[in-house]
């Protein structure tokens, strides 16, 4: 367990020191969301209606941006093969790295979403719901994305390939994230179930994702 914490801590420290990945994701999120009112016009009712959808789709795309570097840097400097040899199973190491990715990307993006909601005239009552659903839903971005990052390791233009591989698997998260927000806005009572399914997707991906990621990494090393 201590080794798991060490790797998690190291990746967070690197994310802060290198800074590029987090900054890029946040900047991308800001720009994509800011373009929406410009392209759709200042119709406040329209923006309110589509705000949740735009915030979610842009968040998923921003989360993808830093995925190619998830294992690439460790692969290039030889750390990855040492992680594969260490007593801590590669599955746990992959889980630690995906968790660090969530803490360094998913959480900052979630915290930025309410600010961007202002630009889209998101209803005031929707802010707490937005944060809760995104916090519960975003781990799936990192844990599913890690599989794509491991599979495309060492291939050129892996970013595009990851997007193609992984985005379809983000659709359930998108559907239930938005349905939870709609249910809360219309008070239909569907909020609880949607949030639970969102949590189930995140939990299942955090258990199964590292196993698939480690298998893909072993294939890349062999």
């Amino acid at each position: 367990m201590s080794a798991f914490r060490q790797l998690l801590g190291r990746d967070l420290k690197l994310a802060i020191r290198e800074g590029g990945a987090v900054g890029t994701a946040l900047g991308f999120y800001l720009v994509v969301v800011a373009m929406m009112p410009l392209s759709l016009g200042p119709d406040l009712n329209l923006l309110t209606r589509i705000a949740a959808g735009i915030l979610w789709v842009a968040l998923l795309l921003s989360g993808l941006l830093s995925l190619p570097r998830l294992f690439e840097a460790d692969h290039e400097d030889g750390v990855l093969e040492l992680l594969a040899m260490a007593p801590l199973p590669l599955e746990a190491a992959a889980g630690a790295k995906a968790l660090a990715h969530w803490l360094a990307t998913g959480v900052p993006l979630t915290l930025m979403a309410p600010l961007l909601g202002l630009m889209l005239n998101l209803e005031l009552a929707a802010y707490p719901v937005l944060i809760v659903t995104m916090l519960v839903g975003t781990p799936a971005i990192s844990f599913i994305g890690a599989i794509g990052a491991a599979l495309t390791l060492g291939s050129r233009r892996s970013g595009l390939l990851i997007a193609l591989l992984v985005l379809p698997f983000y659709i359930p998260t998108l559907i239930f994230g938005i349905s939870a927000m709609e249910a809360a806005a219309l008070d239909t009572g569907g909020f609880g179930p949607s949030l639970l399914i969102l949590a189930a997707i995140s939990l299942a991906s955090s258990v199964l994702g590292p196993v698939a990621t480690a298998a893909a990494l072993r294939m890349q090393l062999g």
């Binding site: 080794a3 060490q6 690197l14 400097d77 093969e81 594969a84 040899m85 007593p87």
Partner: protein, 215 residues
Amino acid sequence: MALRIENLTVKRGGRTIVAGLSLEVQRGRAALLTGPNGAGKTTLIRAIAGLLPVSDGRIALDDAGGEGELGVGERAHYVGHLNGIKPALTVVENARFWGRYLGGTDKDVAAALAQFRLDDLALIRAGYLSAGQKRRLGLCRLLVAPRPLWLLDEPAVSLDAASQGLLAEAVKLHLASGGLVVAATHQALDFAPMDEHRMRPADAAVRAADAMVSL
């Protein structure tokens, strides 16, 4: 304790690189792998580390201590062509990460930095080090957590004479305490007591057999 390799065959991309190799390394001894480029030295070392799948044969690290559940790779340190260090972390952060990750103590880390004369550089980011200093930091990993088997692939690359001496000293201490070393090198390294194993590229008969399979 002894490392036993029996009738080992390793293939890479359909080509046989190591064919039917047997090798035994007793505790307290170093095996020095020499031979021309492409002879399979790196492939053999990576196969022992468990980083490459083995087509045939057996690799075992026998010992009386009953650590049988761990694989050979988990009881080995591997220093390959890459140093496994993060340029954004300082020297001591790099060493401490590996120490804690591999189950060593912070005292081991301090001793490792001292052995490779890196204590003065401890607070400098690894990205600013010279190639030889980076190599010494990579070699530091050998000492941050105890492992019976050291797998060294060209360990002395970009090291000056003094640093090669530090490496040889560390290896001799490791051997004297009952460790094993398998090292591939083109340089004349003094890792006594050592046995030299000259490796040759897989011979024509093996290559012909590969060609038949790929047809």
